[in-house]
């Protein structure tokens, strides 16, 4: 564990190598990336197992001195970090492998791998940061990595727009985090998590301040994890290559928000208001995004909205004090959502379109992808015995125990929606007859399917580390040795919740089957019920348009107003002054009429003037 800092280092090395020699390496760049991420994967597995037996390990050194304050940098390996290390490096490794097939033939192949390396480095750095400042640093770097990868197809206007949007929207959140961080620093005189928690426990920080900072920090999480109202960038981010979507916008970065809240859980749990906010935002986002997902026709966007909604779930869990539930779902979701994305990628790879209207009947053609996609779908829909089932159940339980009946209901509905639209997706893509031409559709190469298989397996079994039946190993381990968290450990939810959840999701699946599988119910049944509603959903509640009309417009307005000031007020004053001086000169030289007697007169007038002043003041000016 002492050398856990090596884990982020490998990807960094790969980034640097590819940056310098990528052009020469060409496709061979893939091996550099894959091997180095494999290295960090292996290492992080070791660290994880080590961590089972040993206590938390922290080390740090002075990074920057401000007067008497010594800001440190270093790394920490606690349960959460170790787990995250494993998840991130695993998914990253798989995506690296997958991309070798997916990106094959792209002229900027090596650049892609370089960016992947950069991102992985940042993400791993983020999860082992022992203090807020370092977290923030990597937090931003992760954002850049995502920005670069979203804008990978830079010549596409959409990609450009999406990248810009992603960066700025997350930045808005980051500022919240920044403010919270700064305020917290002057409260606790430190950025170290441990010191902060200590200060909070000791009651050095006023309640309102805790709430304020917690919420500000949560805003950061909202930005990164695409929670409402800062969610709009995430669907657009699908402009990036699909593996990127799998890695960044499904498994790792977007989960960073959840991770942040989790790792600062003691702070949040100290303020009921803060927790409530988290829960409400999470719950709302869950149902909100799910409802949008119902009608989208772009395979990746559907997945994107489901991601948003799932992240909402996690927030809800954390918000209702379900620490373990949140983290647990974070893990399982990472697996099955990555799986789904990779599968979707392989589909797109096959049919060269993202519009599900043009797919259909691929089950026979994609012998491997189909089943894997199904596994993922089942998992996310919370069908029993798959990973998603357990984690989702955990969350519902937490919500119920946490005493948020409303949120509990919301979550249930969201679960129903999820099941419905996921299977809608599945049926439209894989069943029925082919819409759109599907000549020379073929299964993806093994280098792409292999990672999917692994994820598939995980998507099935990952849930069993924390189940009501086979023991709650994960839960106990996560909170072990941390009384602050112990209270928020595994919740033994009542059985009816589990049953209810199952029923709901099955209902969703059934309805989807009726409409899109069996076609016994017309597709317009839903949209028919209210065309208005349908269009609203289709346009994602017009949130983007709203922002366009308000924030963007206002910003532009201010800018033009200021330009007005700049050109007329500031410049105007200057012009005025210079003009005045020039005018003075002009009049002066006009008086220079060449009439010698005028000159004498001026002199005399001057004398007279002085004499008059002298006379009036009686000779004494002072």
């Amino acid at each position: 564990m002492e050398n856990a800092w090596l884990i982020p280092l490998f990807p960094l090395i790969s980034f640097l190598i590819l940056l310098l020699f990528g052009k020469r390496l060409k496709e061979a760049s893939a091996y550099v990336g894959i091997l180095l991420t494999l290295a960090s994967l292996i290492y992080s597995i070791l660290v994880l197992f080590e961590r089972f037996s040993e206590p938390t390990y922290v080390t740090k050194f002075d990074w920057l001195t401000i007067g008497d304050f010594h800001l440190t940098a270093g790394f920490e390996v606690n349960q959460l970090n170790a787990l995250m290390l494993f998840i991130v490096s695993l998914v990253s490794f798989l995506v690296h492998t997958y991309s070798k097939g997916y990106m094959h033939g792209d002229e900027r192949f090596h650049v892609f791998y370089a960016y992947l390396g950069l991102f992985t480095f940042a993400m791993l750095g983020l999860v082992i940061s022992p203090n807020l400042l370092q977290t923030y640093i990597f937090w931003e770097l992760v954002g850049v990595g995502s920005f670069l990868l979203i804008g990978f197809y830079f010549y596409k206007e959409e990609a450009k727009a999406a990248a810009k949007k992603a960066f700025i929207m997350t930045r808005i959140g980051d500022v919240g985090l920044f403010i919270g961080m700064a305020l917290l620093f002057w409260q606790t005189k430190s950025f170290e998590y441990s010191d902060i928690f200590a200060a909070v426990d000791a009651g050095q920080v006023s309640g309102t301040m805790i709430t304020l900072t917690a919420i500000l920090i949560f805003i950061g999480a909202v930005g990164k994890s695409g929670q409402f109202p800062l969610h709009t960038w995430l669907p657009d981010a699908m402009e990036g290559p699909t593996p990127v979507s799998a890695l960044i916008h499904a498994a790792t970065m977007v989960a960073a928000g959840v991770y942040l809240v989790a790792s600062l859980f003691p702070l949040f749990s100290a303020s009921h208001t803060a927790l409530m906010t988290v829960a409400v935002i999470g719950g709302f986002t869950a149902i909100f995004a799910a409802s949008i997902g119902l009608v989208q026709t772009d395979i990746k966007r559907v997945l994107a909205y489901s991601t948003v909604s799932q992240l909402g779930y996690m927030m809800l869990a954390l918000g209702s004090a379900g620490y373990v539930a949140g983290v647990f779902h974070l893990m399982t979701h990472a697996f099955f959502k990555a799986l789904l994305f990779l599968a979707a990628g392989s589909v797109i790879h096959a049919v060269h379109t993202q519009d599900i209207e043009e797919m259909g009947g691929l089950w026979k053609k994609l012998k491997l992808t189909g089943p894997l996609f199904l596994i993922g779908t089942l998992a996310i829909s919370g069908v029993p015995l798959l990973s998603g089932f357990f984690s989702k159940d955990e969350i519902l339980a937490a919500a119920w125990e946490g005493g948020h009946p409303v949120l509990f209901v919301l979550a249930l509905v969201a679960a129903f929606f999820t099941a419905f639209y996921m299977f809608r997706l599945f049926f439209m893509v894989f069943t029925g007859e082919a819409r759109g031409n599907q000549k020379h559709v073929h299964e993806s190469p093994s280098v792409m399917t292999f990672p999917m298989i692994i994820l598939g397996v995980l998507a099935v079994v990952a849930g069993y580390v924390n189940t009501p039946w086979f023991g709650t190993f994960l839960g106990d381990w996560l909170v072990d040795g941390n009384e602050a968290l112990a209270a928020h450990g595994h919740h033994e939810g009542p059985v009816w919740i589990m049953i209810l959840a199952t029923v709901v999701s099955l209902l969703g699946i059934y309805l989807a089957w009726l409409i899109y599988g069996k076609r016994s119910v017309s597709r317009n049944w839903l949209s028919g019920s209210g065309d208005m509603l349908h269009t609203v959903l289709l346009n994602k509640y017009y949130v983007d348009e709203f922002y366009q009309l308000t924030i963007v417009a206002i910003t532009k307005g201010i800018s033009y107003f200021l330009r007005f000031i700049d050109t007329f007020l500031v410049e105007g004053i200057v012009k005025g002054i210079t003009g005045f001086v020039q005018g003075l000169g002009a009049t002066g030289s006009k008086m220079q009429s060449g009439q010698v007697q005028t000159y004498g007169a001026v002199a005399f007038i001057g004398l007279a003037l002085l004499a008059v002043i002298y006379a009036l003041t009686g000779g004494y000016l002072r």
Partner: protein, 503 residues
Amino acid sequence: MSFETLSQFNWSVMTPEFIILGVAALLTIMDLFMPKGQDRRILGWIGIAAIAAAMVSVASLAGGAVVSILDDTFRLDSFAIAFKLLLLGGAGLVMFLAVSYEAKDGMEEYRGEFYYLFLTALLGAMFMASSGDLITLFIGLELLSVSSYILAGIRKHNLKSNESAMKYVINGGISTAITLFGMSYVYGLTGSTNLLAIAQSLSGLTDGQHVYLLGLSFLMIFVGLAFKLAAAPFHMWAPDVYQGAPTPVTAFLSVVSKTAGFVIVIRILLTVFGAATTKGPGSMPILLDMQDYIAFIAGATMIIGNVVALKQSNIKRMFAYSSIAHAGYILVALTSLSSNMFYSIWFYLLAYLFMNLGAFAVIQIVTEKNGSAKIADFAGLYRRSPGLAVVMGILLISLAGFPGTAGFIGKLNIFIGAFAGTPHYVLASIMIATTVVSYFYYFGVMTQIFFRPAANEDRFKIPASILVVLIVAVVGSVLFGVMPNIALDFMNNNLDILADFFS
């Protein structure tokens, strides 16, 4: 007064004057008997030699005690020596310009006069510097004025030259009258024309009426003398005269004549009005009482000079206004009446001597080449003659008062005086602000020189005599900008003006 008394006088203190006087007379005679066709430049060189000799003798007189002869009408004190050096130096450089000045428009046959009139003018200025009596002051002043009237009009077939001379005479006459009128009251109140005697009798002044009258006469004298300084309100003749007069004469007026003006102003103001009390012995002297009027004139002068200069298209007119402005700066030093006043005024005049004469040397070359004096004629000077351009650049920078040049140190001196004691914030602010305004026109010339393309590419040939001026000017401006203490310490060690000014 018998021969014995005459012979008892220590005439040696007048050596410099005698030299100039003698040579002036000599030149007159030589000019008379020289064959018509012969080149008169030789006379100019003789004049230069004379000035050099006079300078040496003045320098040799430095450091001694105050000597006053002829019933204290002629006094040789440190003040006189310090400023005579300036006058002689300035006149010397002007003579160099004059020697190479091409004679045309009917001054060909008067070339001889051209030289010895400079000498007589100089003589007048020198007498002003060391006269201890209103009468001698007045005579010196008039000797200077009358000579310069003629000099201004010496190109007798040139309309502009005549016109400028005429204007000069008329304005000069008026100013003289006003000054004299003021002086007459001073005499009336004291019954003496000897400055120290006047000071003596005024130091006990108590009668409010008399104080009042004295105040009026102060204004008259000051305004009248403002003519010589080309300070507001008596500045308006300057542009026309500067433009019309031959360039060496313009240079002479802008430097020597101005210096002389300050000499007489300081003499009269400090001795007469510095001593005159307002409310009986020991009370505030009138001079301090009138400070605000001087300040007022100084401010007006700086503003008018710098602002109107912006609008000029003729380089000589522009320099006329710039010289007005510089007079304003020096008046700031006079206003502040601080203990370093003599240093700042003297040093500034020294710096001004170098930078302005140098600039006029360049102007003379360029104008003679182009036959006109438009600022636009400087376009592309840098391409045509880089050396000349750089020299002009340095001199302009010095005039604008940038560091590394004598002009800057001169301004620093003035500022120290202005802020020490009772600070004159407003006046100093006007000075600095107008200085910034002056960047406009000085750098305007620079843009012509360095940025604009040249009309024609033909080069200049720089006559040796002007080369001397240029070298001296640049070296002076830079040297005294980098090591001002060469001058300051010389003054500090040899000339204790403050001490023997009133003795």
